[in-house]
Symmetry: C2
C-alpha cells in the first residue's frame, strides 16, 4: 500500500496520472485544476486572498482571524508557553484553563506574535546572480549576505510605504534551493490570551491518545491581536465559523504553515536521519522524559513545573519514534532510491542537463559523511544539546549579541541580522518564569550526556568539568547567574561587550568558554556540509523540475501552504474508522484518572449537554507539525474545523504521503459552540464568534 | 576495514585463507592447528582438560578456581547482586567494598552458583530421530520434550554414579540447531563472598569509561565455593596466577562462557533487531535510566537503592546502542546479504542439498513477519516488559508453578522441568531485599509504557487499569503483596494451587489476570515463529556445514568456549593505543568526584604504591558479554589477566568479528597483587593465591 503513493510520484515521469490529495502547495502555485477536476470546487484568486489574509502565523503554530476585532482561533497546545508563563508553582493555567470575560482581563502572551502574509516576491534570479561563478563555500556566504540585504531593504521600503505600513520581510528557500522568495508579513507582537479550556478536556487522553483517532480533544484556545496602540487589531479579513461543520466526503482545505518535511531529501540524507540523528535524539528525549516524570512525582509543585516541558517532550518523542519507524520501512528507502536512479538516468540521457547538473547526489553523500564526523561535538557544543538550560540560552544570546551587533548586519551570524533583533529582544525582555530546580535537572543531565557522548577526555569536557561533577557545575552556574531577571538580560544586551565583561555572570562565562570551539564547529559545518549541500540540493531541485515539471510542491518550511482533500476516515486492519466522534464517548472513555479524567466543569453540566454533539473529525488533507491551529475550510471559505493533529500514520508524512492511511484530525466546530455555551458560559466570546 | 573480516569468512567458500584470531570455539573442536601455526603453541588435551575443569560458570558470568580450596576469581561486576543483597538503604557494600579476613566471615551470595563442566555428549542424532517426519510445530514440541527427558535421565544416572556424584545436565543447541549436546556440570550452590574492592576503583571511570580503553579498573571480586556439608570445596583443578603478567604479543587464551552472539542470524533476523527490538529496548532503558537517576538524587538512601540497577542498565544501554550502530553500518547488512546469496547459490547448484534444504532463509523471513505482528503484546505481557517488578516475577513463578508442577516434567512449560526446579527454589528462598520505592518506580513505569505501546484500548490494559492510574495500581499491588518475604514465597510454592488461591495476594491475582493471554501469545510465538525458525535455522546450519565445512564455530550460548589471540593494542584514528596501562595514570585522571574519584583507602597509601604497576591490558581475543570474569591464560595454563570488558569496537562482535579493532580488556595480575598487599592488607587471601 505504502508503495502506491510512491509509484504515483514516479508516474509523473512518463504520463499523467490520477493524483492523490497530496501536497502542501504554495499560494502562488495552487493545484486549482486538480481540485476542480476531483471536487468540482473552483478555487478563485479572491478565495485564496481571503484565506491567506485571514490565516495567521504564530511563533510556533498556525491560527486564523475569526472576528473583525483581531480574535484568533488556534489550538490549546499552541498556547502551552503562554499558559506556562502565567502559571506558578502553586497555580497552573494549563490545568485550570482560562477565560477573560471582558477584554480588560485578556492577558498578554509575552513570547507570542501573530503574522499575516501580505505579499511575496520571487528573488530566485537575484540570488542566482549574486552567487554566480563562486565556489560552494563563497556562494554560501554570499547567499546569506544577499538574503540579509534583501530582507533589510524590503523592511526599509515598507516602513516608508503608507499603504502597507512596516512589514517583516523574511527570505524563504523552496524546493531545497530551487527557488528563493521574500515573504512579507504584517506582524502583531501584542497577542493576548482570551480563552483556554482545561488541559483535561483540551488534551483528553494525553500522551497515550496523542496521534490517535477516534479522539475527543477540545484542543482550542482563543487569542486576540492588539495593535501598537494597545487596541484590539482591526482585522477585516477573517473567516466565519460554520458551527454545523462538514459532512463526510465534503471537500475541505487546510491553510497554514506546515513546519518541516523531508520528502525531497536524498537517500544519503535519509540514512543519516535513520542511523544517527533520530536514534540519538530519541535516547536523549527518552531519558529526559524519565527524569521529568520522576521529578514531578516528588511534589505537586514539581508536577506543575514539568507540565509544559513534559507534554512537549512526549509529543516530540512520539513523532520521532514514528519517523524512525517510517525510515526503517525498507520500502521507503528502496522507493526513494529507485526514484533517485530514475532521475539520474534522465539527467544523464540529456546532455544539457548532464553538463549543468552532474552528480549532486554523490556530493550530498560526501557532505553527509563530513557532517557525521563532526556531528557529536556540533550537536553538544553549537546546537545546544550539552547546555539544556534557559539561562544558558540567554547567556549565549547576550554574549554573541555583544560580539555580533557592532558588525554590519550582513556580516553577523545570520540570526543576529538587523531584521531579527526585535524577536530576540522580545524573548529577552519577556518576564517568563525560570525554575532553578528545572534548570538543575536539564542542565546537569545535558552536561552528563555531553561527557558520555564526547567522552571524559574531550578537551571542552575536561575544561568545563575540571574537578566538578555535572551536578555541581550546574548548581554553581544556576545559583550564580542573574539571567533569570529580564531586566538584567536587557541591560546586558543593551550594554554590549563592556557590560557583558563586567557582569562576570558564571553562565555567560561558560558560554564564552565554549564559544570559540562552538563557532569553529559551526564554520566547519557551514563551509563543508551546508555549502556543498545547498548547491547540490539546488541541482537536485533543477533535475526534478526538468524531469517532473512544476506540478510538484516544495518541502514544508513553516510558510503558508494550502492542502486540499475531503472529510473521510480510513480502513485500519480491515475495519473502517469513522470520520466523526461524538461527545457521549468522552464520558464512556473516562476512567476518573488523568489523562482520562473529564474536568469538573464538564461533569457539573453533563445532564445539559447534547451527547450527540460531534467532537473531532478526520480528513485526508496532507499536513504536518506547524499546521496545528490551522483552519479547516470549506468551499465557501468558512471554517468547519480546527486542525490539531494527524493520525499515527500521518507521522510518516515527513518522508512521503500515504493517501490510504495519512489523516488530519480536527476539532469539530459543534463542540466548540456546545462547550463555550454550556460549559464555560463564554457568552461574549461566543457572540463575537457568531 | 570492517569488510575485510567478512571477506575472510566468504573466502572459506573457495580456498584456505589466513585466519583472524576469531571464534569462540567449543572444547570438542578447538582450532589447535591454527593456534600451532600462528603462535607455535601446542594446545594439548591435558591443557584443555585443566583449563575446562578450572573454569567456573557463575549464574551471570565466568570465573576460575585459583586455589585447591574452592577460591574463585571473578569480576567485581559479577558480584553486583551479592553486594546489593547484603546492602541496606543505609550501608552499601557496592560503595565500601568487602574483605573477609577469615573464612568464618565469608558471606553467602544467596542467588549465586558455581558450575564446572565435567563432561559433554553429542545428542544431535537422538533429537533428529525423535523429530523425524513431524511438521514444524509438532517437531518443536517433541524436541523440547526430548531435551527435557534426556536432561532428566542424565541427572538421574549421575545421581547413582559414585565417580561423578550428582550432576546438573543441560541441553545445548549449537549452530542454531545444527548440533544438540548435553553438558554435564558439577554444581556448587553455596557460594560466598571473600573480597570485593570499592566500586570507586573496581569501576573507576564508571559509565563514561565503560567499554573504553585505556582503562584503570580493578574489576575483581573473590568468591569461594562450599560443598554441601558447608566446607570449602576441594578443587584440585585450579590455575595459578602469574602475577608478572604477559608481554606484548604473547599468545593468550580466554576460557569462559560467552553469553550470546548473533553472527549466524539471517539478514531478516538482523533487520528485526535493527528496526524493532533494539530501538524499543533502548527507548525503555533510556527512560528508566532517567527515572533511576532522578530518584537517586532525592536522598542518599535512594541513591544506594538504585546503585545496582543503575550501573546494570547503563551497561546494557551502551551495549545496545553500539549494537544498533553496528547494524546501521550498511556494510554489515550488505556483507551478510552477500554471504547469504553465495550460500544459497551453492545450495541450489547441488541437487542433493537443494532438495533437502530448500529455502530456509525465506521461511525465516516469513516467521519474522509473524513475530513482528505479535511482538508488542508478547513483549509486554509474556516477556515481562509490562510488569517490571521483583514481586511480580515471584508472583508469576509461584502462580505458574502451581499450575505446571502437577503435570509430568516433559509436559510443563519448559522452564518448570524437574531439573530446573532447584534454581527456581534457590531464588524464591533467597532473602534478598525488596525496596517498595524501587518497585513503585519500575512497576508504574512499565504499566505506563504498556498502556502507551499496546494502547489504552487494549483489552488487557483496560482490564488491568480500570479506573486506576498506573501509579495507583502499582501502589495497591505493592502495598498488598506479601511476596517480599521469602518464607511466604516458599510456602505458596510448596503449597500449590490451593495455597496460592487462598492467599489472595494482589500481585498473584494480577499475574493470574494476564496469564491466559500471556500463555496464548507464547503458544502463538512458539508454534508460528520459534518452531519454523528452529527448523529453518537447522537447514541454514546444514547449508553452512556443507559449504564452509566444520572449520566454523557456533554462536555463543553461555556455554564453555575457548578463544585465542595475543596481547596487543590497536590503531585508533591513526594513533596506536598501547596494550597496557599503569597505576600512575589513575591518580592523574582522578577529578575527586565520582566516577573519577579514587577511594580513600588508595589515597591513604598512595606514597607506598609502585606507580609503574601495570593496571589493565588489551588483547585481541574474541569474546562477548558472559566472558566477564574469564581467566586470561598463557601457554603454560597460568592466569595472566582477569577479563572484564571489551573496547567500544568489541560490541559489534555480536554480529561479526573485526580483527583490526575488536579488543578484550582485562585486569592485570600485577595490580591485583599490589592492591591486595598494600591497599587492602589481605594477607591470607594473597597467601592463598600465591
Amino acid at each position: 500500500m505504502r508503495q502506491l503513493s510512491f509509484l504515483l510520484v514516479a508516474a509523473f515521469l512518463t504520463a499523467s496520472a490520477a493524483y492523490a490529495d497530496e501536497g502542501m502547495w504554495t499560494f502562488d502555485n495552487p493545484p486549482t485544476q486538480r481540485i476542480a477536476q476531483k471536487y468540482g470546487v473552483n478555487i478563485t484568486p479572491e478565495w485564496l486572498d481571503t484565506v491567506r489574509l485571514a490565516t495567521v502565523r504564530l511563533s510556533n503554530c498556525t491560527a486564523s482571524f475569526v472576528s473583525p476585532n483581531g480574535l484568533i482561533l488556534t489550538n490549546f497546545h499552541c498556547s502551552w508557553a503562554c499558559l506556562g508563563d502565567h502559571s506558578t508553582k502553586d497555580k497552573s493555567l494549563m490545568t485550570d484553563g482560562f477565560l477573560a470575560d471582558t477584554r480588560e482581563k485578556e492577558i498578554r502572551c509575552e513570547q507570542q506574535i501573530a503574522d499575516v502574509l501580505v505579499s511575496y516576491e520571487n528573488i530566485t534570479a537575484k540570488v542566482a546572480a549574486a552567487t554566480k561563478g563562486l565556489d560552494d563555500k563563497d556562494a554560501n556566504d554570499v547567499r546569506k549576505k544577499t538574503l540579509t540585504q534583501l530582507e533589510q531593504a524590503c523592511e526599509k521600503a515598507s516602513s516608508k510605504d503608507r499603504k502597507t505600513g512596516p512589514l517583516k520581510c523574511e527570505s524563504v528557500n523552496l524546493y531545497n534551493g530551487g527557488q528563493y522568495w521574500i515573504y512579507k508579513y504584517k506582524r502583531y507582537d501584542d497577542v493576548r490570551l482570551v480563552f483556554a479550556p482545561e488541559f483535561g478536556i483540551a488534551q483528553f487522553g494525553g500522551d497515550p491518545d496523542n496521534f490517535q483517532f477516534p479522539r475527543w480533544c477540545l484542543d482550542m484556545s482563543v487569542l486576540r491581536a492588539y495593535d501598537s496602540s494597545g487596541k484590539p487589531a482591526v482585522t477585516p479579513h477573517f473567516m466565519k465559523i460554520d458551527f454545523k461543520g462538514p459532512a463526510e466526503n465534503d471537500p475541505v482545505f487546510v491553510s497554514g504553515q506546515p513546519g518541516s518535511t523531508d520528502r525531497l531529501l536524498t537517500v544519503a540524507q535519509l540514512k543519516t536521519l535513520r542511523d544517527e540523528d533520530l536514534p540519538r535524539a530519541l535516547l536523549r528525549r527518552s531519558e529526559l522524559r524519565g527524569r521529568y516524570i520522576q521529578f514531578g512525582k516528588q511534589s505537586e509543585q514539581n508536577d506543575r513545573i514539568i507540565e509544559v516541558p513534559l507534554v512537549s517532550i512526549e509529543n516530540s518523542l512520539k513523532v520521532q519514534r514514528k519517523e524512525l519507524d517510517a525510515l526503517h520501512n525498507d520500502q521507503l528507502i528502496v522507493s526513494k532510491a529507485r526514484e533517485e536512479i530514475d532521475i539520474r538516468k534522465l539527467v544523464n540521457s540529456t546532455p544539457d542537463l548532464a553538463a549543468t547538473i552532474g552528480d549532486p547526489w554523490q556530493d550530498i553523500e560526501r557532505a553527509e559523511a563530513l557532517g557525521s564526523a563532526i556531528s557529536l561535538p556540533y550537536t553538544y557544543l553549537e546546537a545546544g544539546a550539552g547546555f539544556d538550560s534557559k539561562l544558558f540560552r540567554s547567556a549565549r544570546t547576550i554574549l554573541r549579541g555583544s560580539v555580533e551587533l557592532p558588525k554590519e548586519s550582513d556580516k553577523r551570524l545570520r540570526e543576529y541580522r538587523e531584521t531579527a533583533l526585535p524577536r530576540i529582544e522580545q524573548g529577552l525582555a519577556a518576564s517568563t518564569p525560570v525554575y532553578p530546580e528545572l534548570e538543575q535537572l536539564t542542565l546537569s543531565m545535558s552536561l552528563e550526556r555531553m561527557r558520555e557522548w564526547l567522552g571524559p577526555d574531550d578537551p571542552t569536557v575536561r575544561q568545563l568539568l575540571g574537578k566538578e561533577s555535572p551536578d555541581q557545575l550546574a548548581k554553581r552556574l544556576i545559583a550564580g547567574s542573574k539571567l533569570a531577571d529580564p531586566k538584567v538580560r536587557m541591560e546586558l544586551w543593551k550594554g554590549g561587550a563592556k557590560a557583558v565583561d563586567a557582569a562576570n555572570d558564571p553562565m555567560i562565562e561558560v558560554a564564552r568558554l565554549v564559544d570559540e570551539r562552538a563557532r569553529a564547529l559551526r564554520k566547519n559545518y557551514e563551509d563543508n556540509v551546508e555549502a556543498v549541500t545547498r548547491v547540490a540540493s539546488e541541482k537536485v531541485a533543477k533535475a526534478r523540475f526538468a524531469t517532473l515539471g512544476t506540478s510538484v510542491y516544495p518541502d514544508a518550511t513553516f510558510t503558508l501552504r494550502l492542502s486540499y482533500g475531503s472529510v473521510q476516515g480510513w480502513i485500519e486492519n480491515g475495519r473502517k474508522v469513522e470520520p466523526f466522534t461524538q461527545l457521549a464517548s468522552v464520558f464512556e472513555r473516562a476512567t476518573g484518572q488523568p489523562p482520562f479524567q473529564v474536568p469538573a466543569s464538564w461533569m457539573k453540566v453533563k445532564d445539559q449537554l447534547d451527547m450527540t454533539t460531534k467532537f473531532d473529525l478526520a480528513t485526508n488533507n496532507d499536513i504536518i507539525g506547524g499546521n496545528s491551529g490551522s483552519p479547516l475550510i470549506n468551499a465557501k471559505g468558512q471554517i468547519v474545523g480546527l486542525v490539531f493533529d494527524g493520525n499515527i500514520h500521518s507521522i510518516s508524512g515527513s518522508y512521503w504521503f500515504d493517501e490510504k492511511m495519512n489523516r488530519t484530525v480536527a476539532v469539530h466546530p459543534a463542540i466548540i459552540q456546545e462547550a463555550l455555551a454550556k460549559v464555560y458560559g463564554a457568552k461574549n466570546l461566543l457572540a463575537e464568534l457568531q
